[in-house]
Assembly symmetry: C2
Homo-oligomer: 509 residues x 2
């Protein structure tokens, strides 16, 4: 079906609701990925990662992981947490990872397929600070958390809640996950992330997802409905709480994303090839553990390799090295048939040109690396230390533009427009042509932030910057927000569960 | 030779000179281009463009073009300026375009090969206004012109002067080209563009290029040393002054870039496929004219298709449609074996996030479309109405990042770093590892604008934005500028020529 027709109706609908944005749509990447390493180079990285795992090994800081791995045939060094892996064993263990799955949302219209050429965008996750142009930067709090959830629910280009969009440090750690996740399920109806911080939080999260969807535990086990990111403590270490979360999620058939934190020059070698070899080793070992727990459990390969500023040691993001690593990470994931996760990251302190060009370098690397999930899609600043309300809106524009870029170019008799060109003829113009008027509403992407007025009109309007437009937009969205419907029985069950677990004291912090 | 070694020495050298930037280097694109249309779709666009030229035709508003085309076998409609082209004739005529050539600079170290997988960046060209953060926007003038030339000469990532970086409207039109081009040759030593605004200006430009290089007219004819952009007055018209310039340049063996001005929804159909078909028709006919004048003359295919804002009619740049058109333009150029030209364009009024994300969308389309020449590489704002000093510096950062992205990833035993990973081991860090220290200076791209300090240090420093950093940088560059050496005899010959032509009254405006 021609894109123009469907989009036009959808745009009218969203305009009617006050906010002019793209409709909800699932994305597929129609383009060949950019390959930054040759087949031989890819093989060299793979082989080096296998040697890392067999010759050096990796530490798993939890006895349950050690016993699971030992039982499955990995080589646990007696009296230590060090595990070494036979290359053939690793390759065989990870072969049970499914190439695709669906993340089920409590609103089935918001289910997200993951794998092959799909792309989904998730919100920023985990910053300890929030920021906006009016009030500046402050410690993360529950009010900002809720407002960022409202933005994420409103914008159709955001497919998933990628984690807490800001860490609400004003909530007690033992029950914070209960407040946060029940809020996500109440203010939002998209699929979501929960943190792998021990078994208790994980099982609470799974129960909240189950209640939100109104399904049985058995059905939930068959239908992935939440995901967690398991970061290694690079180099070559996986911590206890992450391991507990991983085991619980894998047993329950939920999605685990193995994302090594390989900052080149700090937690990984100061060469991208070396950082990729280490990333690959850590990801393979983590995914092998998932598959030992539950063969066939949905797992993803996370690429997060970036580099530090060598002069200060500060992490940098959206660098040329980051872009290459994101593209190479996709090649590695595809080598094994894993769904792939990357990020829209930047190191900027201000919502300025730097924030945008670093976000673009990250996003192009992620999209053309065929990432299936792009974490931190909207709102991330300062290498992840701050969630910015204005950057959230700027990123929505960047993601919407990417979403449009991914719509295949339509080439047929109508779009080739030979008749229109003949009708207008040399020296004419197309403003009033029937071919143009028929497409008036829907011909091109219509931005939410970009200011295309001429200089004089723009100056008369007060010379607003993109940041100022973004500031206006997020306030308008929050003003107009109303939560998506949640059936009363589920809402009650959710409150009951949260209050019971709160009364029990939540989890031990 | 490993990249690290060579780059380190070059970076030290440039640091010694006060400005920390990448060294001069010629770029080659090591990646496969992104293809947005299938082979069948490409053929449909090609066939439609041939039908446009045979059924509708194109107007050439100069008798000399009409007689050249008629003599070569094109079908000139008697008593009109309309020319129709037999499809086979067009395809055969453009087959003599050379696939590559070298643009010769007056400093041979700055010669630029063009064709196949080369990429070169040129400055912004032709805005009627200049702007900076201190003084705001003003009409173009010769002082701003000279300062922008100084910036373009200083930054190694800029390979070519793409035209007047701002139009100096304070200079009389009849001699403006003499002042401008002699200034480019005096303050700069890179190859340059001259405007196709009639035969007189063109032959003056060619003489200035000849004097600058200190070669004979015969040698210049064998060695392309300047280039001109010939814009069609879309739809399907080529104006007289452009034609005169084209003929003069082609006769003298200099480079002509045929760039249709196909703004979708205004001067071209409101569909990208239609705009591309029209772009292709106009480019093919213009290139055919070049080849009729001088078979084998260096010619380029220019893609400039963008779209208007349908609500206001304002031109938009760096849109998703622009990116797709830039990529498809590359596919079309490669179909015929033409070198390809694209642009780094944006519609922003402020040097803000919009300016950066639109510039990135344009530049990614150009680079991954395998453009050999990226015009307006640094400084373009407001759809070409203003040259901004701060945007120039931001674009230098964007181009430097792209230049680094295009350096192939080195994967070998040293970079795979198995020994370093073994030495550091699980839970350690790489800050002090020998493998890291050996690469301290050169491991990663070191930015000129990006501020990677932590928030607290950045705030203490006054919370500078990218625009403010750019403001500081261009002033430092101008403060430190000294022109490249020009042999005394050439300098004298240049002055003599300009003064003689000035005394003659220049060209009739």
């Amino acid at each position: 079906m021609p894109r123009e027709g469907t989009t036009r109706a959808a745009r009218r609908a969203s305009r009617g609701a006050g906010l002019h944005q793209l409709p909800w749509r699932l994305l597929r990447n129609p383009y060949q990925p950019i390959e930054v390493v040759s087949a031989d180079q890819l093989e060299a990285i793979h082989q080096t990662s296998l040697r890392i795992l067999s010759e050096i090994g990796m530490d798993f800081l939890h006895p349950e992981a050690l016993s699971i791995l030992a039982e499955a045939g990995a080589l646990v060094q007696a009296g230590t947490e060090r595990v070494r892996f036979d290359p053939d064993w690793i390759v065989e263990k990870v072969s049970t990872v499914p190439g695709s799955f669906t993340l089920n949302a409590r609103n089935p219209d918001h289910n997200v397929p993951v794998g092959a050429d799909t792309i989904a965008f998730a919100t920023v996750a985990s910053p300890p600070n929030a920021s906006d142009a009016d009030r500046g930067r402050r410690a993360g709090n529950f009010e900002d958390f809720k407002n960022l959830v409202r933005l994420a629910e409103t914008f159709n280009v955001i497919h998933l809640f990628g984690g807490y969009p800001v860490e609400p440090v004003d909530l007690p750690p033992s029950t914070r996950h209960l407040d946060c996740l029940s809020t996500v399920v109440t203010l939002g109806d998209k699929a979501f992330h929960a943190y792998a911080l021990g078994k208790g939080r994980m099982s609470d999260a799974i129960e909240i997802a189950r209640i939100g969807r109104g399904v049985s535990a058995d059905q939930l086990r068959q239908e992935p409905s939440l995901f967690t990111v398991v970061n290694t403590s690079s180099p070559l270490r996986l911590d206890g709480p992450m391991i507990e979360g991983l085991i619980e999620m894998a047993r329950m058939g939920q999605v685990v994303i193995a994302t090594p934190f390989t900052l080149s020059g700090a937690m990984a070698p100061a060469t991208i090839a070396g950082a990729l070899a280490q990333q690959n080793a850590e990801a393979l070992a983590t995914i092998a553990l998932i598959q030992c727990v539950n063969p066939g459990a949905p797992s993803m390969y996370g690429g997060f390799t970036s580099n530090v500023d060598m002069r200060s040691g500060a992490p940098a993001f959206g660098t040329p090295e980051y872009t290459k690593a994101a593209l190479a990470g996709g090649q590695l994931a595809r080598r094994y048939g894993f769904p792939y996760r990357s990020s829209n990251a930047c190191a900027a302190n201000a919502v300025d040109a730097q924030a945008a060009y670093e976000a673009e370098m990250s996003t192009w690397g992620a999209v053309m690396g065929h990432a299936n999930l792009i974490m931190h899609g909207a709102g991330w600043m300062e290498g992840g230390l701050t969630a910015s309300f204005e950057k959230f809106i700027i990123d929505v524009e960047i993601l919407q533009m990417m979403s449009e870029f991914l719509q295949p170019l339509l080439v047929d008799e109508a779009t080739l427009a030979l008749d229109a060109i003949a009708q207008v003829g040399p020296g004419g113009h197309f403003f009033g042509a029937a071919h143009t008027l028929e497409r008036y509403e829907s011909a091109f992407y219509s931005p939410i932030v970009s200011d295309w007025r001429n200089f004089e009109s723009w100056e008369l309007a007060g010379s607003p910057t993109a940041e100022q437009h973004a500031n206006r937009i997020w306030k308008e969205v929050l003003e107009a927000f109303s939560p998506p419907p949640l059936p009363e029985d589920r809402a009650e069950e959710l409150v009951d569960f949260v209050e019971r677990r709160r009364a029990e004291g939540g989890v031990s912090a």
